[in-house]
Amino acid sequence: MSELLSGPPAIVAAGVEVFSTALRTQGADVTDVDWRPPGFGAPEDLTQLALDRRRASANRTAVERMLAAGSVLTDVRPAREVLGLPDRTLLHSGPPLDWEHASGPMRGAWIGACLFEGWASTVEEAEKVLAAGEIALDPCHHHRTVGPMAGVTSPSMWMWCLTDPVGGGQAFCNLNEGLGKVLRMGAFNDEVLTRLAWMRDVLGPVLQAAVRSRTEPLDVKAILAQMLQMGDEGHNRNRAGSLMALRELSPSIVAVDAASSGWSSSDIAEVLRFIGGNEHFYLNLGMPTAKLAMDAARDVPGSTMVTVLSRNGTEFGIQTAGTGDRWFTGPANTPVGLFLGDYGPDDANPDIGDSAIMEAYGVGGFAMAAAPAIVRFVGGTVPDALATTERMYQLTLAENPAMQIPIMGFRGSPSGIDVLKVARTGWLPQINTGMAGRVAGTGQVGAGLVQPPQQCFEQALAALAEESRRAA
């Protein structure tokens, strides 16, 4: 307060313009806020949260935990072992979902997983057991797991096992299959199943042996920080990150004692070729890295920070640090972007995948300025990329000093979405994403940009306000 009186103040003004004009006439330093009424939310809910005495410190706590979390690669193991995933159980992306409400690519991925696991021998049989509810379905997020696109994870699939050395948390993600006709995009033909079998029999075990042979676990967070300085944003563009992961892992992969484990040198070569040929190989390491950070920020009463952004192809779901594992959902939007081949907008499925965890962490669409190439998905320009990131700073609680954006003067990426700020600005988080074909079995049709439906944030705001009233 003594600071206030120590000299002419710099004025930051919101509201009637006449006051700013009068101040400028005096030669005062005036910054005008481009104020407008909140985008959504009942005034009494907004006020309740603004005046909640826990909020500022709770959000600081959530931010500190999110920023402090690290991520190292400790193991590679089948989901059956690492998650205790029983037979006839499938994990999927997004909030809870059943067969009846599932979209084409989600159904396609479930069908493919049933075929892969041998729970059905034909597509029709798979559809039948799934429709009959004979296969248990559960969100990845309920198992400290994330999965890109359909996120479908079955017991025989191998998982990256990551650990937060700071908070001790763990997070898991399956291995990336590459692009095109892949299970996570809803494809399930022989090509898909053959690749999944190879990943089960060769890729997974080789990676396990390689990862276990390292003296120092791979620092996955450090790669994410570096790739932002190399033109990636960590969601739709993972090229540099994938190459760095390959660089880090390849000596250990080559050193795997192939012969005594029953693999040939051509198996090892195929593993390296597969990783090197997949621009999104790193995504499945980046996502559990973000998941570790967001899980570290969970369960902070009074915090209005978003911990989960996630989609199942039908609904978009979010969770917040102040409301535990409760989902707030709304119908998923369909991304806008560019299409492969002669696919078009009519072929695209609504938004799908746990990969928006990257945006929750403050990279992906939030770090668009680091990857100007991405903004072309909607015909944008480099200045648009910068503007998108600039706008996201107004939705977030912190700048992540570990995730710097060179073109913005190495400013930390905008991190930790605040539900209250989303409501007040009326701006929704910007997400970069792949697009799956609407029809089961199609695979990827394009990539683009998307936003969550406002309903998620409306519900979260109301629930946070209700919790705040109860706590008062």
Partner: protein, 493 residues
């Protein structure tokens, strides 16, 4: 996938180029651009990776022979040769096109939080958004460790208390809500006058009261360090003087402040006691210009302070009135823009005239309700919230008061017209311009309390001369103006 391309009915171009690389996103963009041409049936411009070759084959546009992933595949089908040639040329143009570069457009801050994050040091937030949202912006400032002036009214009292408690914990100040006047290190906020810098700090629960006091001090050659408004409700029992206590502490800690004056309407008694107790413990002397039946004059409070400072009390500037004496039985019509000045007028007039009715009555039974044309002794506060709904404050927009003057003249009731005119930042640019013709048309004896300084944008003397020219008696002191009006009535009483 969209309908299969009818290859038979179209012409094709499929080529591979080496030594050309473009980002896949850029190529998808080119493909879309070319695909939108009317004569183009299908198009794929992409690096010749296995995935893209598969897509091309699916479109019936596979290249002949071996393609390598570092080659650029250009595969097109079009309705005729002319279209095809044009489309291939368009691909070349699109691949060569340069994009716009340069600085990002600046994204304006939507909230006080975002603007403060941009980081001006020693920031003071000023909030004048609609009352139901003012708390959101004010809370931003407190979160960011900045003091805030809330001009907005209509903020519930429990929210005011919550804000002031949070500010106290954060070590910052909330001025307001409904704080119309402040001066911080010479920067005038809201309605405030251009006064000289000096040793007296004001804590003001009343905006026009603070303007009267600071202007009279200025006329006596004494400057102010800061004027910290706290909002009209701060000294109520509900708020308990939270803002006043913090403002007093802030001024006590300020090097430039040697003496503090508290300007207010009557506080709740228990709050007054708490404030006096706190003031006694401060390192600077704290005086009071608190209106009550026992101390009805702000001018007297200023004169007491001048005495304590050893400064001679000057003759307060005035202009004699030239109007005819009022008709027999004239009543007092006080039409005020400043609520505290209206209070002062009633406190001074009451003992002389008896009951004075008002929309801000001294006692509930004197309430005027909404009848601004009531006969008898009346004082109206045109700045009261009930009269400013949907319109600007009378210090900015004089329409309502000018109407009242005209109605009074038309009623034929014999009266002495008593007005305040408040100058300074935020106020009307030339109040005399609209008031002079209204006074001339009314033809009633008029007395004006002209609150301002020579340095104000409107200039005290310029305004005083213009008003005197129209026959009004003009006083820098509201108390003197009231007494002069009472004398006019008294001569004929």
């Amino acid at each position: 996938m969209s309908a299969p391309t009818d290859v038979a009915d179209s012409v094709r171009h499929v080529s591979l180029r080496s030594g050309v690389y473009a980002d896949s996103v850029r190529l998808m963009q080119v493909s879309r651009e070319i695909g939108a041409r009317p004569g183009v049936r299908a198009v794929l411009v992409a690096m010749a990776t296995p995935l893209n070759l598969e897509l091309a084959a699916g479109m019936g546009l596979a290249p002949d022979g071996d393609a390598k992933p570092d080659q650029l595949l250009i595969a097109l089908s079009a309705t005729d040769d002319a279209e095809l040639t044009a489309a291939v040329a368009a691909v070349n143009t699109a691949l060569a096109a340069r994009e716009q570069t340069g600085e990002a457009q600046t994204i304006p801050s939507r909230t006080i939080a975002a603007a403060l994050a941009e980081g001006p040091g020693r920031a003071l937030a000023v909030v004048s958004v609609p009352g139901q949202y003012a708390v959101l912006e004010a809370a931003d400032a407190i979160d960011a460790g900045s003091s805030v002036l809330v001009f907005s009214d209509g903020v519930p009292v429990e929210h005011e208390v919550a804000l002031k408690r949070a500010a106290h914990e954060a070590g910052v100040l909330v001025m307001g809500p409904d704080c119309g006047t402040a001066i911080v290190s010479g920067v005038a906020l809201g309605f405030a006058n251009v006064v000289r810098p000096g040793p007296v700090g004001l804590v003001a629960a009343s905006g026009t009261g603070a303007q009267q006091v600071s202007c009279l001090l200025d006329m006596a050659g004494v400057g102010v360090s800061h004027v910290l408004g706290v909002g009209g409700r701060d000294l109520s029992a509900a708020v308990g003087g939270l803002g006043t206590l913090d403002a007093l502490a802030a001024l006590a800690g300020d090097e430039g402040t040697e003496r503090v004056l508290l300007v207010s309407k009557p506080p709740a008694p228990e709050v007054a006691a708490r404030i006096r107790e706190a003031a006694a413990g401060l390192s600077v002397p704290v005086g009071e210009a608190v209106l009550s039946a026992d101390s009805p004059s702000l001018t007297a409070a200023v004169e007491t302070l001048l005495g304590e400072l050893g400064v001679d009390v000057p003759e307060w500037p005035s202009r004699p009135g030239t109007a005819d004496a009022p008709a027999p039985g004239a009543v007092l019509k006080g039409f005020y823009a400043g609520g505290t000045l209206a209070d002062e007028a009633m406190l001074l007039a009451g003992p002389v005239l008896g009951d004075v009715r008002s929309n801000i009555p001294l006692r509930p039974e004197l309430d005027l309700g909404t009848d601004l044309r009531a006969r008898g002794h009346v004082v109206v506060d045109f700045g009261d919230d009930a009269l400013t709904v949907g319109r600007a404050h009378p210090m900015i927009d004089p329409t309502l008061r000018l109407e009242a003057i005209s109605n009074l003249a038309a009623s034929g009731e014999p009266a002495v017209l008593l007005l305040d005119v408040v100058l300074g930042h935020g106020a009307e640019a030339d109040p005399a311009y609209s008031l002079v013709p209204a006074l001339q048309a009314a033809g009633l004896p008029a007395v004006v309390a002209l609150i301002g300084t020579e340095a104000d944008p409107q200039g005290w003397s310029r305004q005083a001369d213009a008003l005197a020219e129209a026959g009004a008696a003009v006083f820098a002191s509201n108390a003197q103006a009231v007494r002069y009006a009472l004398d006019l009535i008294g001569e004929r009483a």
